[in-house]
C-alpha cells in the first residue's frame, strides 16, 4: 500500500516535471502566434478604419465586443479539447440545446439562476457523454462528437417542436444586452462574463496540476500514463468543460437575442474551431492558450464586420476566413520547420 502510494507520488512528480518542460517551449511558441494574430488585428483595424472611420465609433466597438464575448466562451472550451488532441463538433448543437433548456425553464417560471443552471447542466451531460465515449471506449473524437451533434440537435428540435422560444424575461435578456459603466467606459456585461471565464480557464491551465496534465496529454499521452496519471479522467474532464462552456455561450447568445431557436448556432462548430486554430491551438494537440483564443475570435469577427464596412459581398466571408486559417497554419508550419533545422 505504502509502496504504491510512493510510486504514484513519484509518478506525479515526474509528470509534473515533464509538463513543466513542455510548458516552457509551448510558451515560446504561443507568444509568437499571439503576436502574429495581434499584428493582423491591428493591420485589419487600421485598413477598415481608414476606409470607413465609422468603424472606430463606440457603438461599433460595443457591437463587436458583444459578438466576441459569447463566441469566445465556446472557443475556450473547444481549444481545451484541441489541447488534448481531440475535437468537439457538438458545440453548436450544445449551444442551441442550452438556450432552449434555459428558455423552457424560464417559461416554466423558474428564477433566472436556476434556468441558467438547467442550460449548463445540458452542456455538462453532453460533454460527459462525449468524454466517456472518447476516453473510456477509445472511439475517435471526430466520429463521437459528430454523432452527439446530430443527437443533440434532434433532441433540441424535439423539445421545442421546431418553434423558437420567445418572450424571455427582461432581466434575463440583460445578461446579453446590458452594458456596465466602468468610469467613462461602457463595457458589455457579456464581455465581462467572458473575461471572467477566460481568467478561470487560464488559471486552470497555468496554475493547476490538471492544467499541466491537459497540455501533457496532448503532447505525450503515453508518458503521462507510464507515470500513473489517469489520462482518461483528464480527457473526460476536458470534454465536460467544453460542454459546459458551450452551454454558457449558448445561454449568453440566447440572452442577447431574446430568442432560443432550435436551429440556432447551426454550423458554428467549424467557425469556433477555426477561431481556436487561428488563435494558435494546434490540432496535433498540446499547444494553445487563452489569450490566443480570444485574439483569434476577435480577428474573425473584425474581418466579418470589416466586410460590411469595406462594402465587400458578404458571401465571400467564408472564403476569407478559410484563407486566414490556411495562412496561419502555413506560417506556423514554416516557422516550425525552421526551428527544427536549427
Amino acid at each position: 500500500m505504502d509502496k504504491r502510494a510512493t510510486r504514484i507520488g513519484l509518478g506525479q512528480r515526474q509528470a509534473r516535471s515533464v509538463a513543466r518542460l513542455s510548458r516552457q517551449s509551448w510558451r515560446a511558441l504561443a507568444s509568437r502566434q499571439e503576436i502574429i494574430i495581434l499584428a493582423c488585428l491591428v493591420v485589419a483595424a487600421l485598413v477598415i478604419g481608414l476606409w470607413n472611420p465609422n468603424f472606430y465609433q463606440a457603438t461599433n466597438l460595443l457591437n463587436l465586443a458583444r459578438g466576441v464575448s459569447w463566441f469566445a466562451v465556446a472557443a475556450l472550451g473547444v481549444s481545451m479539447v484541441i489541447l488534448v488532441g481531440g475535437i468537439d463538433l457538438s458545440v453548436g448543437a450544445v449551444m442551441a440545446l442550452a438556450g432552449v433548456l434555459c428558455a423552457s425553464a424560464l417559461h416554466a417560471g423558474l428564477p433566472v439562476p436556476l434556468a441558467i443552471l438547467a442550460g449548463v447542466a445540458g452542456g455538462l451531460g453532453v460533454g460527459f457523454l462525449n468524454g466517456v465515449l472518447v476516453a473510456r471506449l477509445g472511439l475517435p473524437p471526430f466520429i463521437v462528437t459528430l454523432g452527439t451533434m446530430g443527437l443533440v440537435r434532434g433532441v433540441t428540435v424535439g423539445i421545442t417542436n421546431g418553434a423558437p422560444l420567445r418572450d424571455l424575461p427582461p432581466h434575463f435578456r440583460a445578461l446579453g444586452q446590458h452594458d456596465l459603466y466602468l468610469g467613462p467606459l461602457s463595457v458589455p456585461l457579456s464581455l465581462v462574463i467572458m473575461a471572467l471565464l477566460a481568467v478561470l480557464v487560464s488559471l486552470l491551465l497555468d496554475r493547476t496540476i490538471l492544467g499541466r496534465y491537459i497540455y501533457t496529454v496532448g503532447r505525450d499521452e503515453q508518458a503521462l500514463r507510464l507515470v500513473g496519471v489517469p489520462s482518461a479522467s483528464v480527457k473526460i474532464t476536458v470534454y465536460v468543460l467544453s460542454g459546459v462552456l458551450a452551454a454558457c455561450s449558448g445561454v449568453l447568445m440566447t440572452a442577447w437575442l431574446g430568442v432560443a431557436a432550435p436551429t440556432a448556432a447551426e454550423g458554428y462548430e467549424l467557425e469556433i474551431i477555426a477561431a481556436a486554430v487561428i488563435g494558435g491551438a494546434s490540432l496535433f494537440g498540446g499547444e494553445g492558450g487563452v489569450l490566443g483564443v480570444v485574439l483569434g475570435t476577435t480577428l474573425m469577427l473584425v474581418v466579418r464586420n470589416g466586410f460590411v464596412f469595406l462594402g465587400l459581398p458578404t458571401y465571400l466571408q467564408s472564403g476569407a476566413i478559410g484563407a486566414m486559417i490556411l495562412t496561419v497554419v502555413l506560417i506556423d508550419h514554416l516557422w516550425r520547420r525552421r526551428l527544427a533545422r536549427g
Binding site: 465609422n54 468603424f55 457603438t59 457591437n63 421546431g162 442577447w256 437575442l257 431574446g258 440556432a264 459581398p313
Partner: protein, 330 residues
C-alpha cells in the same frame, strides 16, 4: 417475394374486412413539408386538413390527407418519406422540396407509379410534377421595392438582407427588388448581407450595416430572420426604426412581425399564403385526381400586403385562424 406475400395478406384482409356496401370511394392525398414542427408549415397542414374535411363533406369522395415530412429540413430524409408514400400507393402527393435536385428522382418515381405529384412553395422544376403552387417571388420583390421607394420618398441609401446565397426563391425576391429600384436614380443599394437563415447572423449583419452607413434610409429583409430576436438585440436598427429614420419592408407576416409593424418599427410586410399552401394544394390535387384537370406549370397563390392600414385585420386572422376573408387594401 415479400411483396407477393404482402399482396396476398392484403387480399385476405380486404376479402374478410371489406364493408358490406362501400358507399363512398376513398381518396388519400399526401401533403409533405420541408420539416415537421415549423409553425409556418403547421399552418399549411391545418389548411390541408380543413380542405379535406370540406371536400369529404361535399362528396363523393372521402378525402384523407396524410400531412407528413422529414423531422428536419433534410433532402435525404425527405426522399425516404416520398418513397414510403409511393409504397403506400397514395392517390396524389403535394411536396415542398428541400432540394430541387434531390427531389427530382423520387417525384419521377411516383409519377412512373401512376401517382400525380405537385410542388408547393419550393419547386423541383426539372421533375415531372404537374404544377408548382407558390407566391410569385419576383413580383413580390418588385412590390417590396415599390413600397420602400414610396416610404423614403424616392431617395436615399438602402440595404438588403437575404438568407443562404443560391436559394432560388430568395434570389428572385432580391432581383425583383433591385429591378424596381433601378428606376429610382436617387436610391442606391449600399449593402447586401447574408444571414444564412440564422437569427444571430442576421442580427449582426443588420447592426454592421447600420454602423457602416449611418445615413441609411431603408431596409428590405427578404426573410424574417433578424426580427425573431427580441427588442434590445439590434439597438441601432431599433432606434432608427422607431424614430422613422429607417423604413423597413420585410417578407412574411407572422404574429410577432405584425406586432412590430403596429408598434411602428416596420413599414410594410409581404405575406405568403401559408394556409393556402395546404388548402389550395389539396384542392389542386383533388381536381387532378378526380377530374383529371390540366393545370398550368405555375399557380400563383397571390400575396398579402400588410401596412398600418390593414394590420389589425391580419392580426385578427391569426387570432381566429381564419384566413379566408380578403384583407382590406394596404
Amino acid at each position: 417475394m415479400r411483396g407477393i406475400t404482402l399482396l396476398l395478406l392484403l387480399l385476405v384482409v380486404v376479402a374478410c374486412g371489406a364493408p358490406a356496401a362501400p358507399l363512398r370511394q376513398r381518396m388519400t392525398l399526401a401533403w409533405v413539408s420541408k420539416s415537421l414542427g415549423n409553425p409556418v408549415f403547421d399552418h399549411g397542414r391545418n389548411g390541408a386538413l380543413a380542405r379535406a374535411r370540406e371536400l369529404s363533406a361535399a362528396g363523393p369522395y372521402t378525402v384523407e390527407v396524410i400531412a407528413t415530412g422529414s423531422a428536419s429540413a433534410d433532402a435525404v430524409e425527405q426522399t425516404r418519406v416520398l418513397d414510403d408514400l409511393i409504397a403506400r400507393r397514395v392517390d396524389g402527393i403535394a411536396v415542398s422540396c428541400n432540394d430541387p435536385i434531390a427531389c427530382t428522382e423520387p417525384i419521377n418515381r411516383a409519377v412512373a407509379a401512376g401517382i400525380p405529384v405537385m410542388t408547393w412553395d419550393s419547386d423541383a422544376p426539372e421533375s415531372q410534377r404537374f404544377t408548382f403552387l407558390s407566391i410569385d417571388n419576383y413580383a413580390a420583390g418588385r412590390v417590396a421595392g415599390e413600397l420602400l421607394a414610396r416610404a423614403i420618398d424616392g431617395s436615399g441609401k438602402v440595404a438588403v438582407l437575404t438568407g443562404v446565397p443560391g436559394a432560388l426563391n430568395l434570389e428572385q425576391r432580391v432581383r425583383g427588388f433591385r429591378d424596381t429600384l433601378a428606376a429610382y436614380p436617387d436610391i442606391t443599394i449600399v449593402a447586401e448581407v447574408t444571414s444564412n437563415e440564422d437569427i444571430s447572423r442576421g442580427v449582426q449583419g443588420v447592426e454592421d450595416v447600420m454602423q457602416a452607413h449611418r445615413d441609411l434610409r431603408g431596409w428590405f429583409f427578404a426573410g424574417m430572420w433578424p426580427l425573431f430576436a427580441d427588442r434590445g438585440a439590434m439597438p441601432l436598427w431599433e432606434q432608427a426604426a422607431r424614430t422613422g429614420r429607417v423604413k423597413t419592408v420585410s417578407f412574411d407576416t407572422l404574429p410577432f412581425q405584425l406586432e412590430l409593424l403596429r408598434d411602428g418599427y416596420l413599414t410594410a410586410l409581404i405575406g405568403q399564403h401559408y394556409w393556402g399552401w395546404g388548402y389550395d394544394s389539396v384542392q389542386t390535387l383533388y381536381d387532378r385526381v378526380a377530374h383529371r384537370t390540366v393545370f398550368p406549370p405555375f399557380i400563383d397563390t397571390g400575396m398579402d400586403i400588410v401596412t398600418i392600414n390593414n394590420v389589425e385585420a391580419m392580426i385578427r386572422a391569426w387570432e381566429t385562424n381564419d384566413f379566408t376573408a380578403p384583407l382590406p387594401p394596404p
